[in-house]
Structure formats: structure tokens, C-alpha cells
Subunit: 230 residues, 2 copies
DNA sequence: TATTATAACTAACACTTGTTAGATTAACAG
DNA sequence: CTGTTAATCTAACAAGTGTTAGTTATAATA
């Protein structure tokens, strides 16, 4: 019946399970494992994953400690053994998210020639989209919930976020041969980030292709370069 | 200190007042005024505006009946004289939003040659951006809160939203000379809508220019056409 | 096995939420 | 001025929130 099939038409919209990249999670989790027993570490990771899942699917408003606890067969109060507050839990989920996607992008860029600025930007687009839409609920929960999270949480995340933002500004600056902090680069950055991150609200893995979408974004990006002298 | 000034760095982020387009509001409100006294109508409109303001600035989770009531010097219970539920209030705010921006875009398109598909698309971009970032909190609250609103509210809005979506698909289809329902058009539509609507999260009227941003979007759009035969 | 630290539970707290019924005021008709 | 309708308030409700203190069960260590 719907002429255009919108994400919002799908009853299961937003309820897809992401591929379980357990290896990736492990790498992230263990990065900051200090003085925690194996069992505590496992529980903590389950809690983080459950929280990320709720945040990605239903938004920050639906992230309640009782919801999270139920997903890991615990009671709300038990979560305080692993996190000192709801804010800390949310911060940790989102911190894992940015750090994951930044690490993935940087690792992929290491395999690309430093002077091929077009291939570098395109690579970053692919990696970011895959993290967002396929591999990591930590990434998607961060992107989806950041604007609605309490001030304190946003404040805690400002440095990791800025690092990732600067990476993009530099990639774009190199690509269009302009200063990374000029208005031009910044506006293009906003266009690109908007196109990438809004996909969370419509992308349906059963109906859409990450690569197809990334290809259209590549086409768009080339225009910004072709408008300018090299 | 921040290298790149992000919206989230600004303490007043999201707290800008939109230009008071009272005339526009009147046109919208009165469109469905049936069997309501002048006083009731005024109160109802104040409630709608207050709700839209909260939704745009703080998101749907912060929209509480007590918050809204306080803004219009009422008590929470009094709102039930004008709306039968919180859902109905939210639905009405968002319905006004889509209908407003769709009407604005269509009226502007009436002034553009039907065969100048580039100018038509560019016009729509400008009108949409201005509604979103400057003139209407009903539009911005809709865009910002739609993904987080209860299912019932989204269901109520599906028709008005689809009408507006189809308008864009047709504009893009004409512009790149492709069927409005093909994958190509739909992906470009998602890119464009993402770039437009995400601006809600970073745009700061004291620091950015709507026209500058719209111009960058124009550059982007031309690439999609130039890639194809006419 | 006995002891101890770990990890979870119970049950409540103070508070906020949407919503409702009934009382109260304000505006207006006769 | 009187009576009636329209508009708002009061005060509570049941449900849900983050958080805490005290308790129990589990697991590791001696």
C-alpha cells in the first residue's frame, strides 16, 4: 500500500539485531579492564551491550535501569555494583562507541596511500557506515542518543568526540584541498555527517544495501572536489 | 579552546528562540478552528507553541504536561480541557509542523517554472531549511522528535508525512530525470534529507548562515545530475 | 571445610509522570 | 443581578524513575 516504503512503516523498524561482533567487543572491553574479576567483567560487558541495544532501538528515554537489568536477568539495584550511576553507564556505552569507530577508521586508513585523499575519504565513509548500520550497537547508540543525553554525559564525551570530528575535518580538507577548519570544509562535513548518521532512522538491512548507499555518497563527494582547482 | 566549535560546546545550544512568525501560526491554527471560543483558541495555541518549543529545544522526553503548563501559566490538569491526552497534543504539534513546511514549499514552487527542475529543487531546499532553522518550531520539533515519539503518534502522522516525502521524491526524480520511486532517487533523497535535517543538531544562527549551507547543498545536488544523461 | 570477598537480591525511599474527579473561578446570557 | 456555561485549579491516583541500605547467596581462598 505505501507508495514509498519508509522505515517508519515497518513494524519491526529499529528492532534488527546487529551482527554479533564479539571479537570487536572484547577488544574494546578489555582495553580498560583493570582490577575486575572475570565474572564481574562478563556481567559488566553484558550490561553495556544490553544498554547499547536499548539505546539504539528505543532511544535514551527508554533506557531505564530496570529495562537493562531485565535483559541481563538482574535487578535494577544490582547494576550499581558495576556502575556508580545511570549517567556513568550511558557515558561508558557511548565512549566505547566513538572509540570503536575511530579505531576502525584509523586502522583502515593505515592501509590506504596517504596521498590518495579521495580513496581515504571514501574508505572512512564505508567504515563509518558499516560500524553504524551493521557491526556496532555502541556506535549506533552513541549517534542516536547523543543529542538527548544529560549535559554531564555530553561533557564527559567531548574529548573523544572532538578527536573523531577532527579526523573527518582533516580527511575532507585534504580531499578538497582546503584548510580543515575553514567554513567550506565544515559545511561539507555537516552535509556528509548528516547523510551518514541520519541513515540510522531509515536504513533497513532487509531492504537496503550499505554499499549502494555509500556509492551514492561517493558521487556526492566528488562534486565538492570537482568544483575546485587542485 | 575548542579547535572546531561544535554545537555541543555552546552552553546555549538549542536554546535559541525562533523568529516569531505569528502570522504563520495564525494561518495554521485557524485552519482547523471549529466550535472553539476565542479564549479557548488562544489558550490552545499558546499550549501548542509551548509544547513545540520544549520539543525542539529538549526533545520529546522532556515534554511533560507540567512543563508545558508552567510555560503558559497553567496547571497540568488544565491542559485536558484542550487536549484529550499528551499523545494528542504531541500529534497536533507535529501535524502542524509538516503541514506548514509542505504548504510553504508548495507555495514557493508555484512561483517557479514547472520545467526548471533544478530551480525547483533548490527552492524547496531553501524553504525547508528556513522553516526548520528559523521560522517554525512546529517544523523543527517534528523533525527532531519524530523518531522518539510513541507508535500511536507516528501512526497518526503517517499520511501527512508521506505526502511531504512524495513531494521531495518527485522533485528529485525530475531533477535527475529518473523515476521518483527508483532506488537512485530514494538514496539521493535520504542523503539530502539527512543533510538538511541533521542541521538541527549543529546549526547556530549566531555562527552559521542558512544561505551558506544551502549553497553547499546546491553544489552537492548538481553532481547527482551531472553524472547522468539528460 | 571454614572464611572471606564477590556479586547479586530485597525492599524501600523520594520523586516524577499522565490522568482523573470534583471544586472553583471567570465570562457571559437572560 | 442571576444563572449558566466555559475555563482553570486542586488534590489525588497508580505507575514508574534513579538510588540506597541492608541482606543473602555465590565463588574463591585459606
Amino acid at each position: 500500500m505505501p507508495v514509498v516504503r519508509l522505515a517508519s512503516d515497518d513494524p519491526a523498524w529499529g528492532n534488527f539485531e546487529h551482527g554479533n561482533c564479539e571479537l570487536e567487543k572484547m577488544r574494546l572491553y578489555t582495553a580498560k579492564t583493570i582490577g575486575r574479576s572475570a565474572k564481574a567483567e562478563t556481567s559488566r560487558n553484558e550490561i553495556l551491550s544490553a544498554a547499547a541495544n536499548i539505546m539504539r532501538r528505543h532511544g535514551y528515554a527508554e533506557l531505564t535501569l530496570r529495562n537493562v537489568a531485565a535483559k541481563v536477568n538482574m535487578k535494577a539495584g544490582s547494576l550499581y555494583y558495576h556502575f556508580s550511576s545511570k549517567d556513568e553507564l550511558a557515558t561508558e556505552v557511548m565512549r566505547i562507541g566513538v572509540e570503536a569507530v575511530e579505531r576502525d577508521v584509523r586502522e583502515a586508513l593505515d592501509q590506504v596511500s596517504p596521498i590518495d585523499s579521495e580513496q581515504r575519504l571514501i574508505t572512512a565513509v564505508h567504515i563509518h557506515l558499516n560500524a553504524l548500520l551493521r557491526s556496532s550497537e555502541f556506535v549506533s547508540s552513541h549517534i542516536r542518543c547523543y543529542p538527548f543525553v544529560p549535559d554531564r554525559v555530553r561533557f564527559e564525551l567531548r574529548e573523544v568526540r572532538r578527536r573523531y570530528d577532527l579526523l573527518w575535518l582533516e580527511l575532507i580538507g585534504e580531499f578538497i584541498n582546503r584548510p580543515a577548519r575553514g567554513d567550506e570544509v565544515i559545511y561539507i562535513w555537516h552535509i556528509l555527517v548528516g547523510a551518514l548518521n541520519q541513515s540510522l532512522e531509515w536504513f533497513n538491512p532487509n531492504r537496503h544495501s550499505i554499499d549502494d548507499y555509500a556509492r551514492q555518497i561517493e558521487i556526492m563527494l566528488r562534486q565538492f572536489r570537482s568544483q575546485r582547482p587542485l
